[in-house]
């Protein structure tokens, strides 16, 4: 279901205060998303790759996760260069490959890969649990935080229920085909999951009421600060400012 292959490392990034990591990841990602100049984006991508090495993440897992955006980027590279108007740099039969199209595709690829890498190093290196707690420490609305944590908690239960139902229909000789019967069966199965999930939600709420829940969540919060927090914060600030100045410097040149 949900695996957390990066959460249990012991690199120095893993030891940094999760709140600090969340703030840095969000700020730098927003920054990267707004950049326009390829050299700056290239620089950001280089740093993101460097960060992956620093966090000592399993290379295979990183590639596997990259695969998710691979198809999206492929689509971008196939469509944008031939559909974008502008200076034509190559003619492929009747198709015009435009320079702005290529630049835009490159921008999108650089941005998405860098942001993905940054989230992998900063956010995937903590468990969902820690992520939730840090978000609430950062004054993220508690409803959202508990939505996240409970989704994480119950997605396994719902997955179990799905598997049970699936087994049950297989036991009775169901084979997935492209027939209306198959579609109907899947629709019933999904409908059943919703019904069960809503009943479960009701029971969970009742169980919470029985333990004195009054609409307010309290936390057993304990935050640890590590010695590397301050240097980390400084480095992140330098990177942040550095990238911004680089971007503005590039504006001056063009």
């Amino acid at each position: 279901m949900i695996e957390e292959p990066f959460a249990n490392g012991n690199s120095f990034i893993h030891q940094i205060d999760p709140k600090l990591r969340i703030i840095s990841a969000v700020l730098i990602s927003v920054e990267i998303a707004l950049f326009k100049h390829l050299p700056v984006l290239g620089c950001a991508l280089f740093m993101a790759i460097f960060a992956i090495f620093l966090a000592r993440l399993n290379f295979k897992c990183v590639i596997k996760r990259l695969y998710v955006i691979f198809w999206f980027l492929l689509l971008v590279w196939v469509t944008l260069p031939i559909t974008f108007e502008g200076e034509v740099i190559y003619k492929l039969g009747s198709l015009n490959i435009s320079r702005p199209g290529i630049i835009l595709s490159a921008q999108i690829s650089f941005k998405s890969i860098s942001i993905l890498f940054i989230f992998m190093t900063m956010i995937s290196t903590m468990s969902i649990n820690t992520l939730g707690r840090s978000l609430s420490a950062l004054h993220c609305p508690s409803k959202l935080v508990h939505l996240l944590l409970m989704t994480y908690r119950y997605i396994f239960v719902i997955d179990n229920e799905y598997r049970r139902l699936q087994k049950a229909i297989k036991m009775r000789g169901f084979r997935s085909r492209t027939t209306i019967h198959s579609y109907k069966t899947y629709a019933y199965l999904i409908g059943m999951l919703f019904v069960r999930a809503s009943y479960r939600a009701k029971r969970v709420h009742q169980a919470m009421l029985c333990r004195g829940f009054n609409g307010k969540f309290y936390s057993l919060e304990e935050t640890s600060t590590s010695q590397t927090d301050i240097p980390f914060a400084c480095i992140m600030t330098i990177i942040f400012i550095g990238l911004v100045s680089l971007e503005f410097f590039s504006y001056g040149n063009t």
């Binding site: 409970m150 908690r153 009742q206 919470m208 057993l220």
Partner: protein, 248 residues
């Protein structure tokens, strides 16, 4: 017989009737029930005869169509009344996944005490002590959804006991447990000095953990078999007595 104080009335249901909207028959039909301080009551009945509904009524999760519910001698009817009841009576749900919603064991066990207004450090202490008492020390940082079925049940019991209840309602606590966990549960229940009601299908389990047995049929309770067996391997602080429902 005991004096009133030693064997005070904990739960008293009088002439309770309840029907689900989609059902024409009454799930609970003019039911009477008394649970006293020294009672460890077992209810054995077929599926779908309203045992879980009974517990929901006692906890105020459902409200009866007619009849009176008295808890510790006080009449309870409004949601506000039941908020107090829920602090005194612990309900162990049939499915532990319903009860354990926090990411880690310690957070789940401390959830109740935190709601009761304990400070985080006190709540943590209570949670740790409760886990220790159940032989679950070392489980505090385990991820709840990764626990086995038996572990989940024991942790769910810990979450209920951490509220320091004065009485317990246990909804099929032994279903789906292996023999080892089951015997541990029996041991734990017998060491508790609390009145409780256990719903179960298993006669053996009820013999080992209760001193009065009722059956439920057509939404009513009937006195069940006498408790014969007395071969308990575990220490007992109280005597086993045979009781029948008093219909007054």
């Amino acid at each position: 017989m005991e004096t009133h104080n030693q064997n005070r009335l904990i739960i008293h249901l009088e002439d309770i009737t309840f029907a689900y909207p989609e059902n024409s028959l009454n799930t609970i039909d003019h039911l009477n029930l008394k649970l006293c301080q020294k009672d460890r009551m077992g209810i054995v009945a077929p599926n779908g005869c309203g045992k879980t509904t009974l517990f929901s009524l006692i906890m105020g999760l459902l409200s009866p169509d007619s009849g009176q519910i008295k808890i510790f001698g006080d009449l309870v009817s409004s949601e506000k009344d039941f908020v107090k009841v829920r602090r005194k009576i612990g309900l162990l749900f049939q499915d532990s996944d319903d009860q354990l919603f926090s990411p880690t064991v310690i957070e789940d066990v401390a959830f109740g005490p935190l709601n009761l207004g304990y400070s985080p450090s006190n709540a943590k202490d209570i949670a740790m002590t409760t886990l220790d008492n159940l032989g679950l020390s070392g489980y505090e940082n385990r991820i709840t959804h990764k626990l086995s079925g038996g572990e989940k049940r024991m942790v769910a019991l810990a979450t209920v006991l951490a509220m320091q209840p004065e009485a317990l309602l246990l909804d099929e606590p032994n279903t789906g447990l292996d023999e080892k966990t089951k015997s541990r549960l029996v041991q734990v229940l017998n060491q508790l000095d609390l009145p409780y009601i256990v719903i179960s299908h298993e006669n053996d389990f009820l013999y080992d953990t209760t001193n009065i047995i009722y059956t439920m049929e057509n939404g009513q309770m009937f006195p069940g078999e006498k408790i014969h067996r007395h071969h308990h391997e575990h220490p007992h602080s109280h005597s086993h007595h045979i009781k029948f429902i008093d219909k007054d």
